[in-house]
Assembly symmetry: C2
C-alpha cells in the first residue's frame, strides 16, 4: 500500500480519492474549499485532510491531482505552499486534469527541477466513470514513473496506458474530444432530422446502432437528445475549454480541424442559449427538431 496525496476534490477527484482509501492506501487530501474536504473525510474516515497542497504532498510518496484548468495546475504545483514545496525528491506527481500539452510540459519541467517525476494523465469516462472506478487514463511521461503509479491509479482507472513523453496523455485526450465533437454533432443532426421528418426515433436508432453508423454516443444519447434531456454528463463549458486547448494545439502543429472548429462555435451558441452546464449532447438544441405541423 502507498502513501498518497490527492489534490482537488471536484466531481471527479472526490470519488477518485475515495477509491484510493477503498484500495487500502494512506490518503491525504487537499481541496481549495475546505468544507468539501471535511465532507469527504466524514465519508472516508480512513483518510486525512491537509492544510495546503504542500502539506498534502509532504504526506505522500505519490501526488495525484485533479483540478480545474491550466492555471490551477501550475499554481497548485508552484505557488507558495504548493505541491513542490512539500514533495520529496524522488516522488511522482500525476496530473489528471485535462489541460494543454504545453501546460503539461511546463508542469513536467517544474517537477523535474525539483527532482520530482511527472505524468500527465487526463481521464475519460466522466463522473460516472470516476464514481464507478472505471475511468480510462491516458498517460504521458517516463515509463519508470508510470510503473511506480500504475497499481495505485488502478483504484479508479480500469484502463491505463502510457502513450509517450510528457504531453502525450493530453494529446490523446484531444483526439478523444475531436472524435466526440464529430460523432455528437452528426448524431444531433440525425436525431433532429428523424424528429423533423416524423420518424420513430427509438426504432430507427435501434435498427442502425449495430452498423457502420454506430457509436457509444448513439447507444447512450439518442433517446436523451430526442427527449431534450441534458441535465447530466460532460458540461458544455468543459468541452469548450478542452476544444480551445485542442484548436490551439492544432494551430501550433499546422493541423486542420474544420469540423471541430465549427462544433466549438456551435457550443458557444448553446452556452449563450443557457446551456453552459448542459451535457455535450445539447448540440441538438440548435437544430429544428419539432415537426412543422406541431409548431
Amino acid at each position: 500500500m502507498a502513501r498518497v496525496a490527492f489534490v482537488g476534490l471536484g466531481v471527479m477527484g472526490y470519488p477518485m480519492a475515495g477509491h484510493l482509501v477503498g484500495a487500502g492506501h494512506e490518503v491525504t487530501v487537499w481541496n481549495r474549499s475546505r468544507p468539501r474536504a471535511d465532507e469527504w473525510l466524514v465519508e472516508h474516515p480512513g483518510g486525512r485532510v491537509a492544510a495546503s497542497p504542500r502539506d498534502a504532498a509532504a504526506a505522500g510518496d505519490l501526488v495525484l491531482m485533479c483540478v480545474g484548468d491550466d492555471a490551477s495546475v501550475l499554481s497548485v504545483l508552484s505557488a507558495p505552499d504548493g505541491v513542490l514545496d512539500g514533495a520529496a525528491p524522488g516522488s511522482v506527481v500525476v496530473d489528471h486534469t485535462t489541460v494543454s500539452a504545453d501546460t503539461a510540459r511546463r508542469a513536467g519541467a517544474a517537477c523535474a527541477a525539483a527532482g520530482v517525476g511527472f505524468l500527465d494523465a487526463p481521464v475519460s469516462g466522466g463522473q460516472a466513470g470516476a464514481v464507478n472506478g472505471t475511468l480510462t487514463v491516458m498517460v504521458g511521461g517516463e515509463s519508470a514513473d508510470f510503473a511506480r503509479v500504475d497499481d495505485v491509479v488502478a483504484a479508479y482507472g480500469a484502463k491505463r496506458r502510457l502513450l509517450g513523453p510528457v504531453g502525450a496523455g493530453q494529446l490523446a485526450k484531444m483526439v478523444n474530444q475531436i472524435c466526440i465533437a464529430g460523432v455528437v454533432q452528426g448524431l444531433a443532426e440525425g436525431v433532429a432530422f428523424a424528429l423533423r421528418t416524423g420518424q420513430d426515433v427509438d426504432a430507427v436508432f435501434d435498427t442502425i446502432g449495430a452498423g457502420a453508423a454506430g457509436s457509444w454516443q448513439m447507444a447512450n444519447r439518442h433517446a436523451t437528445m430526442a427527449a431534450d434531456s441534458f441535465e447530466f454528463g460532460f458540461a458544455v463549458e468543459h468541452m469548450r475549454k478542452d476544444l480551445g486547448n485542442t484548436l490551439a494545439e492544432a494551430r501550433a502543429a499546422g493541423a486542420a480541424l474544420p469540423l471541430t472548429a465549427l462544433v466549438d462555435q456551435f457550443y458557444a451558441e448553446v452556452w449563450q442559449a443557457g446551456g453552459r452546464r448542459w451535457d455535450t449532447s445539447s448540440l441538438i438544441t440548435r437544430l429544428p427538431r419539432t415537426r412543422p405541423e406541431d409548431s
Copy 2:
C-alpha cells in the same frame, strides 16, 4: 419456399440473389448487363435468368430489386417490359436501392395502381454484409406486405425492421448516412491531428476506443485512414448520391444539417482529387497529416 425474382446484380444484388438460391428459393434474375447474369447463373445453377424485368417479375410472387439510383428504380418498374408489366396483382415488390423518400413513394404509388404491394428496404452493411448475408434492412410499407417477405429477405438480411409507411426505410437510411458523415469526419480529424502531432495512432485509438468517443468507424477505420488505404468499402460517389438525397429531403422538411452539408462538400473535394471510388474514410486525404519535419 418462394418463387422470387431478383432485379439488379451489382456488387450488392449479386451475392444477395445468391443467398436466396442457397436458402432454397426458386430464383429468377434479371440484370441490365446480360453477361453478368450468365456469370451469376454459372455460379448458381439452381437459378434462372430472365430476358426482361417483366419476365423476371412474371416468374415470381415476390420481386426484389437492387439497382443503381432513383431513375433506375422508376424505369425498371414502369418502363415497357418493366416489373409492373409482369408482376401479378397481389405480388409484392421490395426495393433495396437507396433512393429518395419521394422516389420510394412514387414507386409505391405505381405498384399500388397495379395492385402490387411495395416496400422500400434500403440496406446497410456494405458489400461485406451482402456477401456474408448480414445486412441490416430498413423497411417502409404495410405490415402485411412486410410479413409476406420477411422470411425471404432473412436470407441476406440479419436484421430487418418495419419502421413506418412507404418512405420510412429511406428516411432511416438517411439518418444512418448523416451519422456516418459526422463520425467519419470527426475520426478523420482525430487521426490527422494524431499523425500531425506525432502520436502513436494505434495506441491512442486502442485506448480511447471503448469510451465515449468510440464508434464502429473508429474500430474499423482508424488504421486504414492512418495508412492512406481507401481501395475498399463504400465509395465516395455513392455517399454523395445518398447525401444529395438526404440534403434535399432535409430542405423540404425544414431540417438543418450544417455538418452533413459541409461533409458533402468535402466529399466533392475528395472526388475532384481522384477519390470517386475511394471509401468514405478518404475524408482524411483533405487534411494535413504528415509531421512538418517529415515534409
